[in-house]
Symmetry: C2
């Protein structure tokens, strides 16, 4: 068993730092609109692995990017991630009551508030990215906005979710499911890893390497997630399990079987690490993440 | 009766031009994710007054802004407006079956698709604004992104909707309702009128005048909308009427009575027009809009 200490410390530090950035940004107003602010805070401050923010910070470090600025980009991406979780959990979507061991936003508040909290988290993400506190170069800020908009929209995250919802009626093969996952979760994970390169004015090759790393990492992450859904316990995972199978959802685990899927996740994690060769020791935490995502049990 | 010919022509021209801009932007992909693209197109291409895009174009013209660029900003704002309508109509929110005389998106498609279509319309709006096709000056693009994010978020449109949903349990007075309206619909209307000033590098005073104009116009518009809800027919308005009263929603018409409210709308429209004095004849369409919003019957 390898030592995950440094990675665990880094993940915990990321989580605390992100929360410090978001606390004043999600300040209450004092009016009745604060109900939606409470729902946004409930979602954003409820823990989670903070994988995406971590990828932003780790990639930013490769290029010597100012950490307070990288933290703002990380916070923006986490807002988008949380919005997607809130909307995905709604009764009309995946209908989940539990997330990270806690009631989902529409259970804790109500459906209308959950829809609005997701919407407002998306707005605040773009507000954060457009601010000059996030980067001194306006072209960098614009590129971050453009990429996040693309990664989250109908050709990215939302498009993937749209396919996922129709999966029971579609006959998806392994390639189709891989495309679905790349859209649904991969696009935002790729953006997270590339964000540091964008902020650091990195060259094309470095950026392409991080893209390749994140692409393989995202797929490995998704397979690990699907394996947990099949093999984990609700207590361990913090949300309802066995749901994907029940809903007839297409997963690579369902198509490949547990054994082949686990092997595939390992191959993808190894591949992800190969993309990092040029970064030498500076990328050790990014390598550790690749091991972590396929060995995690939460 | 005044001649609304030039205004009606301009509104119709705006609508056609916006649709030409959005058609390729909302291109189908060819995959099963196109279900969400169809829902986005259904919402965006279903007519509507196009008041917000019109305000963008009319204010842009005051400062000699390139029309194709102003059209892109107008299209982005219309995407945000349509997203808000789709989400507002959901069963968990206002639960409306009819919009502009047609089934609402969740009725035509389903709730999950409607939620996703709204989400993706928000993403595409920010993608449009961040593109260099929208303006050559990166600081202008960033300011547009920042303002749209603010106007649409928890301190703007979403915050207003959050108050509106709680209105039956809150004892709102006229000032509270005015604040609610300024957030819920006013913020986006103000941004629409200011967008031309931002694009045209207008001075502070010109921009403040357009802000004042739009603020009064937005409130007049909302009172007119509430009067239609009380006095109009479903056929005329194209959506269910009498709903605000039934839902116990706070409206200025409910608080002031029909007669005082109609007078207030007139005062606001006059005030809106006074803000335009410095623009002379160039602002004639903006003046016509102020008359139009309080005299419209759709």
């Amino acid at each position: 068993m390898e030592d995950n200490g440094p990675l665990n410390d880094a993940l915990a530090a990321t989580s605390a730092a992100i929360e410090r950035v978001l606390d004043p940004i999600l300040a209450r107003n004092g009016g009745p609109e604060d109900r939606v602010v409470e729902a946004m805070r409930y979602s954003v401050f409820s823990g989670g692995k903070r994988l995406r923010p971590f990828l932003v910070l780790a990639s930013a470090e490769l290029f010597g990017v100012d950490r307070p600025q990288a933290l703002r980009v990380a916070a923006a991406i986490e807002c988008i991630h949380c919005y997607s979780l809130i909307h995905d959990d709604l009764p009309a979507m995946d209908d989940d009551d539990l997330r990270r061991g806690m009631p989902t936003v529409h259970k804790k508040f109500d459906e209308a508030t959950a829809i609005l909290a997701g919407d407002a988290l998306m707005s605040i993400a773009f507000e954060i990215l457009s601010s000059d506190e996030t980067h001194s170069d306006p072209y960098v800020r614009l590129e971050l906005v453009k990429h996040l908009a693309r990664a989250s929209g109908h050709r990215g995250m939302v498009g993937g979710q749209m396919i996922d919802l129709q999966a029971p009626e579609l006959e998806l093969d392994e390639m189709d499911v891989q495309r679905l996952q790349q859209m649904k979760t991969g696009a935002l994970i790729c953006f997270s890893a590339e964000a540091g390169a964008i902020m650091g004015h990195a060259g094309k090759q470095a950026r392409a390497s991080l893209h390749g790393y994140a692409r393989d990492l995202g797929l490995a992450f998704q397979i690990a997630d699907d394996l947990l859904d099949v093999e984990g316990t609700e207590e361990q995972v913090g949300k309802a399990i066995g749901k994907d199978q029940d809903a007839g959802k297409a997963t690579l685990v369902g198509l490949m079987g547990v054994k082949r899927a686990r092997k595939q996740a390992q191959i993808l994690a190894d591949q992800a690490i190969e993309h990092l060769a040029q970064f030498d020791d500076k990328a050790s935490l990014l390598r550790a993440v690749a091991h972590f995502v396929i060995n995690r049990n939460v």
